[in-house]
């Protein structure tokens, strides 16, 4: 009993922290089902007073007339090819760094880590000028390549650690069979790398999905190409305190995909974060 009492502050502290981290999301979630009048006159915690007024109307409105359905499509269209390319190019380079004879390989690795730490702003102006000159600004090809280039250091860093940790015997057997390097990579290394590839892909997908700055700079705010983050931020700047009912629903649409991925694949997401931390 005494022991329980002594542990009460511990549980209380954790409970308070968890509340601070969940209540804001809960408030927004509840509000996204309330009509405009209710949101602007009473707090979300009073939603229980008029349950029959809750509806999906806000979601239908933002998806249809505010073009968020289209923006969702654009986000997928940006993230999926960019991440696929990142994983492919990254795994080949990581394999070279971890398993092939590479003069100056250590130096390359240090450079990759240094590039991980450089603020992305440092690279934006020259790439934008290059894009303006080549007509890649505002195109999906342009943004796929930008994300590929910017995301490579992380993919290479994480996958190199993984390939380097694979047991030597795995590769000795392949070498004895006289398998080519390409064959060893495709038939020996890749099949056992599922979890590592998955954590790179998930982490990068969430990163690309959540990006606002790169999309604003290289795609612009045009509704024809804008991903969900740009669409929501346009909606915020357009609303001057009014239109909360649309913002709440829009924010939820924007976070639905990364949230589902997070809760379904939490293990891989955590592994990606740990790798990024240099563990």
């Amino acid at each position: 009993m005494l022991d329980r009492l002594r542990r009460a502050p511990l549980h209380l502290t954790l409970l308070v922290i968890c509340l601070i981290w969940t209540v804001p999301v809960l408030g927004l979630f509840v509000s996204s089902f309330r009509p405009a009048y209710d949101i602007s006159t009473t707090g979300w915690w009073r939603a229980g007073d008029s349950l029959q007024r809750l509806s999906l109307a806000n979601y239908i409105r933002v998806l249809q007339s505010n073009g968020l359905a289209e923006a969702l499509g654009h986000s997928l269209l940006i993230a999926v090819p960019a991440v696929a390319a990142m994983v492919m190019v990254g795994s080949v380079a990581a394999f070279a760094l971890a398993r092939l004879h590479l003069p100056g390989g250590r130096l390359v690795l240090v450079l990759v880590i240094a590039l991980l730490a450089i603020p992305v702003q440092m690279t934006l102006v020259p790439v934008l000028r290059l894009y303006n000159a080549t007509g890649l600004t505002g195109t999906f090809l342009g943004i796929w390549l930008v994300h590929l280039g910017f995301g490579l250091p992380f993919a290479i860093y994480l996958l190199r650690t993984f390939f380097a940790g694979l047991p030597e015997e795995l590769f000795e057997a392949a070498a004895l069979d006289g398998a080519s390097t390409l064959r060893t990579f495709l038939r020996v290394a890749l099949p056992v790398s599922g979890p590592a590839l998955a954590s790179v892909a998930i982490f990068q997908f969430i990163w690309v999905w959540n990006d606002l700055l790169i999309a604003l700079i290289f795609l612009g705010g045009d509704a024809d190409v804008a991903p969900i983050t740009v669409a929501v931020s346009n909606l915020v700047s357009a609303s001057t305190g009014q239109g909360w009912q649309l913002l709440t629903a829009a924010a939820f649409v924007a976070m639905a995909v990364p949230m589902v991925i997070f809760f379904a694949l939490q293990r891989y997401f955590v592994r990606g974060l740990l790798a990024g931390s240099g563990k």
Partner: protein, 320 residues
Amino acid sequence: MRIIAAVAFVAGVGAGLLGWLWLAERITGRLPLRWRRRLLGPLWLAPAAVMMGIYLLWPLVNTVVLSLRDRTSTSWRGLENYAFLARDEQVHAALANNLFWLVLLTGGCLAVGLLVATLADRVRYEALAKAAVVAPTAIPFVAGAVIWRFMYQYQPPGLPQIGTLNAAWTSTTGQDPLAFLVDERTNNAALIGVGIWMTTGFATIILSAALKSVPAELREAAIVDGANSRQTFRYVILPQLRPAIIVTATLLAISAFKAFDIVYVMTNGNFATDVLANLMYRQLFLNQDYGRASAIAVLLAVAAIPVLIVNARNARRREV
């Protein structure tokens, strides 16, 4: 049409890579073994190296060059853009705000992350508690900004408060509501609070993993020696966590310099909340001044250097 382009892009990258590697194999296959081993590695690295060269290395050098040229990059201007940074009040204010972000975001995330990691370690609902804190790291900053604009929502006194914080504040203290995002005494802290809310999960994951790897014998030995739980934490566990704390602090500090989305969406830099990244964005698009935008980027990178040096020193110490 776009979906076809997307499929073509992925297939193109995949086929291009395979073709390149196959070609590398064929070419080096005819060479003596010693040469084959020497060439194959660089050839495998080449595709990624080219991409990183175009999108990271070359721009890095080029940004420094552009920062020495005029707004349209047509003629040399020496250090004029830097002189502008040195005297412009907006830049000073933004730099001060970035430093505030650096201290508060890093400190806040580390403190809460450490607290959650250690406390959750002692309860049965550990996974649940950590998931609650980690989940916001997966959502877009834009969505987080909307969530917190709603939390900070202000209505003039007399009207019902619909923002959670002001409702709690006015009903418990009976005082006037606070305009969190407009009042210059609170607004920067309010923005950084959103950053802490969205980034603490990251610190929690790393510190929690480090905590689990502290050998159980160490803790047991401390308890046998008569240390209470606070002493055990202070003198046994905390020193073991040191490397993880430094790595986390470095990454948090770097992300504090990159702060953009939250400010852009919540205040757009108004009411003295500007940070360097937003200033750079405006120089780039509203002012169309590539020289000044590049100079700000260089300033951002230079500001991150001390953080990197501290970290590199620590890494070397760990290796020795």
